[in-house]
């Protein structure tokens, strides 16, 4: 009797172990390929930030703290006030989109502030991407928005406040109506 119970216990624990192992090394149901990523693995690559602020990490920054980050890491390519280049203009162009010489910048064109945080975090500086700390990303974001007159110099940007920033061109986008040139022929 005792032996039988022990045998049952062993069998049960082996089964539990098998289930656990299967969960850890789960494979796809139809073809039996792939494995389950660990939470740490997922966290490492799950870097996108959406307009509702999902994906933002803890941290904070203001334009005041961002001036230093900008001068050290951004100015060489984007110029002292974000207008001079040589690379892409970050500020200016307000009210120019409907003119014959539109100037697209973060302030005149970008619809979401979260996109700016996401892009600085994933891709900037161009030759050293993914080297800024979360505080530096919040600070640089705040400084670029400040250059565009969208936030004040002391406004704190963090996980909660950044998604609430209203971008001037938020409602400037329309759906694709093509085919838009009516040239249907028999």
């Amino acid at each position: 009797m005792a032996t039988a119970r022990r045998r049952f216990t062993i069998a049960a624990s082996v089964l539990a172990g098998l289930i656990a192992a299967r969960a850890l090394h789960a494979q796809s149901p139809a073809f039996g390929v792939g494995h389950t990523p660990s939470p740490e693995q997922l966290k490492q690559i799950d870097i996108d930030v959406t307009p509702d602020g999902k994906g933002l990490v803890p941290g904070r920054g203001t334009a005041a703290t961002g001036k230093d980050v900008y001068t050290r890491r951004c100015e060489t390519c984007h110029g002292p006030t974000g207008k001079e280049g040589p690379q892409e203009a970050l500020s200016g162009g307000k009210g120019s989109l409907a003119t014959p010489k539109p100037q697209k910048s973060v302030g005149s064109y970008w619809p979401y502030a979260t996109t700016l945080w996401d892009y600085i975090n994933r891709a900037m500086p161009f030759d050293h991407p993914s080297t800024l700390t979360p505080d530096e990303v919040y600070s640089a974001t705040a400084y670029v928005l400040f250059l565009n007159g969208i936030v004040g110099e002391q406004d704190v940007l963090d996980e909660k406040t950044l998604p609430k920033v209203q971008m001037p061109n938020r409602n400037g986008f329309v759906a694709d109506p093509r085919p838009d040139v009516p040239l249907k022929r028999k």
């Binding site: 690559i45 996401d118 329309v174």
Partner: protein, 409 residues
Amino acid sequence: MQNARSRSRRRFLGLGAAWSAALVACRGKSAAPPVEPKALGAAVSPYGSRSKFEKTARFFNQNTKVPLEEASSRTPLHDTYGIITPSSLHFERHHSGVPEIDPSIHTLTIHGLVDRPLVFGVDELKRLPSVSRIHFLECSGNSGGEWRGGSTESDVQRIHGLTSCSEWTGVPVATLLHECGVHPDATWVLAEGADASKHDRSIPMSKIMDDAMVAYGQNGEPLRPEQGYPLRLLLPGWEGNANVKWLRRLKVMREPAMSREETSKYTDLMPDGTARQFTFHLEAKSIITRPSGGDTLVPGAFCEVTGIAWTGRGTIVSVEVTTDGGATWHQAELQKPVLRIAHTRFRFPWKWDGKDTLIASRCTDDTGYTQPPLPELIKVRGMNSQYHNNGIQAWKVASDGTITNGNRA
């Protein structure tokens, strides 16, 4: 025509006077009677390369403030034949350089709104049921210089070289998503690359389930590094940059991520200041590739007019050619088989009468849509929309036989 070809090719390569002198010297030698080689030829070799006499190459502008890691190089459409672009001449557009990726450690992770997030190795993907399809890829910025009413660029490679066509082999993304179990409320998939800038685009679930592919093969061998080795997303008929290269992650979502590339870039600005967002399809387009800008015609001599046509919405059903500035249009012959969402080669026999004229092609696809004249597109979209120009390309033939960009008024 041959001399003009040499001239334009020299210009492409940016070679100087020394090369000109060498060419003259070569021509002098080649005038001697041809001698068949009597010595043994080269032995077999592990990986083939083209003849040393062939020099055609991708073109890229080196005198630009744009770093070459985020520049583009263009396919020599004038000097490629049929419908397949050699992998080595496929156009490039990178956002932060070509990463060097070891396929034995590269993985594709699928997560987000799925029952089972899964990580796949490259070899695992190669074990799954595969598909091979011939599709064109075109950068949405192709021909973008023409939006201002015709550019000063004069040859087909510089104006239109951001389109190429390959046979792609891979796994339907639908197969992979079925393995992961997609939640019913999922409507978008974010695709992200493993390049330095982690290039990312949001793709509607309908396209993903319809014909999207995780490709690992191009023209019978693994993808070239410039084309996303070891894995890329392929979205037949949709703008190039959404076909994310060096694919490392697919995240199933409810809304688009609104990444930099799908908001501040690759959106088409209209004259009223609004911008179109998500303009994924590439519409029907054709171009005459020979004869084209840089060539010189000989009066009265036979000259085949040939080019390519394609549409992101289906299949090309006809291509018409005009050699009299649009007064009359003639059906060109389409190379069979005509494939869906692929370059379609067309040909039309012609003899130039020695008078100045405009030549052009226009195509129609199986949705009934006909490629419009460029001015018609500009009338609707203005001159600043930058992307998705599929207007008719005219080539101007001068009375001395030289050909230049005919889009300029």
